[in-house]
C-alpha cells in the first residue's frame, strides 16, 4: 500500500517538475518565467520528497525529508525575490502584454532613484502606472 501511494506521489511530482520546465522554456519574460521556476518546481520537488518519506516509512528519513521541504519552501521565495529585484533594476524588458507596473510608479516617486536618470522628470505620478491593456 505504501508503495502504491509513493508511486502516485512520485508521478504527480514528476508531472509538476515537467510543467515547470516547459514553462521555463515557453513563457515570455523573466518575471513570468519565475512563476514556473519557484512555484511549480518547488511543489514538484516537495511531492517527490514526500514520496520518498512514504516509501521508506522510517522516522529518520521522514525528518530529513521534512528538513529538505522546509528548506526549499524557505529559500525559493528569497531567491526569487532577489533575482526579480536584480532583473528589474537592471532594466529588463517587460512582456508586451504587461499593463500594470506599480514598481515603476513607486521608483519614480522615490528620490533615491532620481539621480541616475538624465531625462526630463515625468509628470508627478499618481497611483499605479497603467499601460494600455493587451488587445486580445
Amino acid at each position: 500500500m505504501n508503495a502504491l501511494i509513493a508511486a502516485v506521489l512520485l508521478l504527480i511530482g514528476t508531472l509538476f517538475c515537467l510543467v515547470a520546465a516547459v514553462g521555463m522554456l515557453r513563457l515570455p519574460d523573466t518575471l513570468i518565467r519565475m512563476h514556473a521556476a519557484t512555484k511549480a518546481g518547488t511543489l514538484g520537488a516537495g511531492f517527490i520528497l514526500a514520496a520518498q518519506a512514504v516509501e521508506a516509512g522510517e522516522l529518520s528519513t521522514t525528518l530529513k525529508v521534512i528538513a529538505v521541504i522546509v528548506f526549499l519552501l524557505l529559500t525559493a521565495p528569497v531567491a526569487a525575490h532577489l533575482i526579480g529585484r536584480a532583473a528589474y533594476r537592471r532594466g529588463m524588458e517587460l512582456y508586451a502584454g504587461t499593463w500594470i507596473d506599480e514598481l515603476d510608479t513607486a521608483m519614480q516617486k522615490d528620490s533615491r532613484f532620481q539621480d541616475t536618470s538624465d531625462q526630463e522628470p515625468s509628470a508627478t505620478p499618481q497611483g499605479t502606472t497603467h499601460r494600455a491593456p493587451p488587445e486580445n
Binding site: 517538475c17 515537467l18 514538484g44 522510517e58 528538513a67 529559500t75 528569497v78 533575482i83 536584480a86
Partner: protein
C-alpha cells in the same frame, strides 16, 4: 493478474527519473538561450530544484536513503549560488558599476 505494488513503484521511479532528465534538459535550453543574465540565473535556480527532486527519486529507485543528505547539501549550496549570482547582477560586477553592460546578449 495481480501486479506487485513494489513493481509499480520501481516502474514509476524509472519513469520519474527519465522525465526529470527531460525537464533538466528543457531548463538547460533556457539556460543556453538567455537572453539576459537574469534569465540564466532563473534557469539555474530551476535546475537546482530539479536536481534535488532527481536525487529524491534516485533514492527511491535505489532504496538508499543517504542520497537525501546529498539533496540537503545541494539545496544549501544552490541557494547560496543563486543569491550570489543575483547580487552579482544587481551590483553589475564585483564593484558597484554605473555604466553596466552586463545584462546584454552574449555576442
Amino acid at each position: 493478474m495481480i501486479v506487485e505494488p513494489t513493481t509499480i513503484l520501481a516502474a514509476a521511479s524509472r519513469l520519474s527519473l527519465d522525465l526529470l532528465l527531460v525537464s533538466i534538459a528543457l531548463a538547460s535550453v533556457r539556460l543556453a538561450r538567455g537572453p539576459q543574465a537574469a534569465d540564466r540565473v532563473v534557469a539555474l535556480d530551476l535546475i537546482a530544484v530539479l536536481v534535488v527532486a532527481f536525487l529524491a527519486a534516485y533514492a527511491i529507485d535505489t532504496g538508499n536513503t543517504s542520497f537525501l543528505d546529498v539533496a540537503i547539501a545541494y539545496a544549501l549550496v544552490a541557494f547560496l549560488g543563486t543569491v550570489a549570482l543575483a547580487r552579482f547582477i544587481l551590483r553589475c560586477g564585483r564593484r558597484r558599476n554605473k555604466d553596466c553592460t552586463l545584462p546584454g546578449r552574449l555576442p
